[in-house]
Symmetry: C2
Subunit: 454 residues, 2 copies
């Protein structure tokens, strides 16, 4: 072939600032409300949980926010991450489409999550915090914060959703290797956990519940802050390094994407990619740019949920945010894409979807693994189950191009490798994987318990 | 810090030829002998096992051997691999030494092994071969050949050493994800395997035995060739891409290594690094360059074995080669560095050690994991147990520099990540890992059964 496969940036070319979409939204985000008073939340309300710098970033409308030098130095351990042209996949699909993928699996934790874990640990350290509590689904976030804790000498306590804790023992060991403590959620360490275990000792857990446990831990320990790996504005902000690098790399390829695809659980990895691009769409420079969010049919937040105010967690400890939600009590089936098993969606993606600026699609897991195997056997990389959701849609779109004869540029946000998900691949290869029907009744039930907001 | 961490080469800068040390050896390698006749082996003797191009490479004295374009194209999926300056480890050790590491864990299989797997699959494909049998220890080699098989549409059958098959189920699943078949060795699929199972149904296996099985498989199937992941000259040749890239990258740093360190099982990853550098030592340009081979105390081939003719496998099916050996019947204890559990050593490293051009050191496993954890908590990467052997010695040498005040340049050959070895990290973290005493008697016993060579 002799064609270029990999588009690399030198670390000197790494963007020095994150991009804040709040500077360019056609309409501002709805306010976040206090869970007790129902009134807009103040910085002081959040101070027991987050360092002030992150609280400021959460509401900032400043377009560019500088990446601290200490954070840049650590980013350099794996960033800028590579952008690939998927020549081999294109050939296997016999498509005229050009497929590109930005690969975040090169980080030590194997996903995009360290982009914000490092930043959050840095700001916490600067404020004198010595311990952080957090939750994790598939374990990608917990292991990333564990890594960040090792770098900044901060103790990390991770509440890991029970089903993932059982399915992915090696993710837990990764956290322990970096010095963190990890427990199965629901756990006996918090009131929220104990209450759930009393109700259902075999509860598979959910991200919503694990968040309750971590928030309670932070609220009840003086030395401890809370940290969230997705959903919030400052998390998406830190992830924009993905899209900012990709814009430079797409320029190197001589192309601009027609379609950008990514998977969404809380939404941070994909928003991190598309926010710097959607700026061009909002400004009218790229009106035809399509942005496709891919979620699991087992937790179809955007495609089947409602856009309303809800809690971020099961125990109603978090602020009330306006977002697409399946109801904070929704307990998704144990699909292998643990990072996508969340009832809510980041306010920014919810807002953009509501404005009609982005699309969404829900996929069953068997089809996503089939796509993942195809990717592995052509491009080499064994992808995380979450990422396989995006790969499925990229392949579908590339095959549509084959039918129509169009040579579109498709950009895949590849959020990470599947080295800790081989049990899921085993289930697929043995034909033991199952698809769960769209959980219509469970969603309807969970949506009955929305908070009352004036 | 603001100092450069990562030294990258563009894929256009990737070397276009492998370096063949046989052009520059002060004395030629001793001949390889036929197991039946005891006479020097001929290309025709090897033709049932290997494609002719590889047989030619095995004995070639041509200095540069061109990398086929199809192989280069696939290399570009992860090559050139990055070279890092370990600023954070240096700081933690408070050493004046400069530590660099070349990281091969960026390949889809997570190690250096695809460098030769891709090349070997290519030459087999060109010769019309549709199936390849091989053995694997830790699973790094088997998964790499599985990957290569997926790329070239060749069926792969892997005999995986039983103890690793049990310890590392995810490595097997990786092979299956890429479409290969993997069985535990000793297996019931070969005569050599059945004979061993009869003797010891719980036999933990060894690389020597798994090689017997794979060679027998290839010899008894018309459509099948055999492939070896280390030891042989052509394997080391393909791995020189590591050292050739590193030379360019060390130039970018403005430094030249004083000490190069790597782990050795069959020797290919480390030889791949140091052969392009040892050329400078042989030519007298860098007379003080130190090259330290690190092996496990449980299989101390170079430091405690003898330099003599021996079989490469347990069942005496392979040619007889002159090398450091513990005896082909030596069955090492089940240390977690499965890739280092081999009784022999590549003829090239054996020859260079015998000539006094390289050094060797044997390490117990607990110390290597301690070093690996230190590396993980400073540089982020969780390393393979094999690699931890090299990291241990790098840290020791850096601490010696701290004592002496010398600012030496230490170059670590980082052969791969430990994502499929978390069980070993668990054993270490729980304090359950044990060190095995230098197996003096077992070696003496195994050395009684050397082949008679005139």
């Amino acid at each position: 072939m002799g064609k270029q496969t990999k588009f690399l940036l030198d670390e000197k070319e790494m963007p020095k600032s994150w991009y804040n979409i709040q500077a360019d939204l056609p309409q501002p985000l709805p306010p976040v409300l206090h869970p007790g008073t129902g009134k807009p939340i103040t910085p002081d309300d959040l101070a027991p949980l987050f360092p002030m710098e992150l609280i400021k970033q959460e509401v900032s409308t400043q377009r560019w926010i500088e990446i601290p030098e200490e954070v840049q130095d650590i980013y350099h351990l794996w960033r800028p991450s590579p952008l690939f042209r998927a020549h081999r996949l294109e050939k296997a699909l016999d498509t005229p489409a050009k497929i590109f993928y930005k690969y975040e699996g090169v980080s030590p934790a194997g996903s995009h999550k360290p982009n914000t874990a490092i930043a959050q640990a840095y700001y916490n350290k600067k404020e004198g915090i010595t311990r952080i509590a957090t939750e994790t689904g598939a374990g990608q976030w917990g292991s990333s914060l564990a890594l960040a804790g090792a770098f900044f000498d901060i103790k990390i306590k991770v509440y890991m959703v029970a089903i993932s804790y059982q399915q992915k023992p090696y993710r837990r060991l990764m956290m322990e290797t970096w010095g963190a403590e990890c427990v199965s959620s629901p756990s006996v360490d918090t009131q929220a956990g104990r209450a759930m275990l009393e109700k259902d000792p075999n509860c598979p857990g959910s991200l919503g519940l694990a968040i309750s446990e971590a928030v309670e831990d932070a609220a009840t320990h003086d030395d401890t802050h809370y940290s969230l790996g997705s959903v919030l504005n400052h998390v998406l902000l830190h992830q924009t390094i993905i899209g900012l690098e990709s814009k430079k790399q797409m320029e190197m390829t001589g192309e601009y994407p027609d379609i950008i695809v990514g998977c969404i659980g809380g939404g941070s990895n994909f928003a991190g990619m598309f926010l710097p691009f959607i700026k061009d769409k909002i400004e009218g420079k790229k009106p035809n740019l399509r942005i496709i969010n891919v979620e699991p049919m087992a937790a179809p937040t955007v495609t089947k949920g409602v856009y309303t105010y809800d809690f971020g967690d099961t125990a109603k400890l978090t602020p009330i945010i306006k977002m697409y939600t399946l109801g904070h009590g929704f307990m998704p089936e144990p699909i292998h894409a643990g990072g996508l098993r969340y009832h809510g969606m980041s306010p920014i993606i919810s807002h953009l979807y509501n404005l009609g600026l982005v699309e969404a699609r829900a996929e069953h897991q068997i089809g996503t693994f089939k796509a993942g195997i195809r990717f592995a056997r052509t491009e080499g990389i064994i992808s995380a189950p979450e990422t396989n959701h995006a790969i499925k849609v990229v392949i579908d779109e590339a095959l549509k191009c084959k039918e129509s004869g169009e040579s579109k540029n498709i950009l895949l946000t590849h959020s990470g490798h599947g080295h800790f998900d081989m049990g899921a691949y085993e289930a697929y290869l043995l034909g033991k994987l199952k698809d769960y029907a769209y959980p219509k009744e469970k969603i309807a039930e969970a949506l009955k318990d929305l908070p009352k907001v004036k």
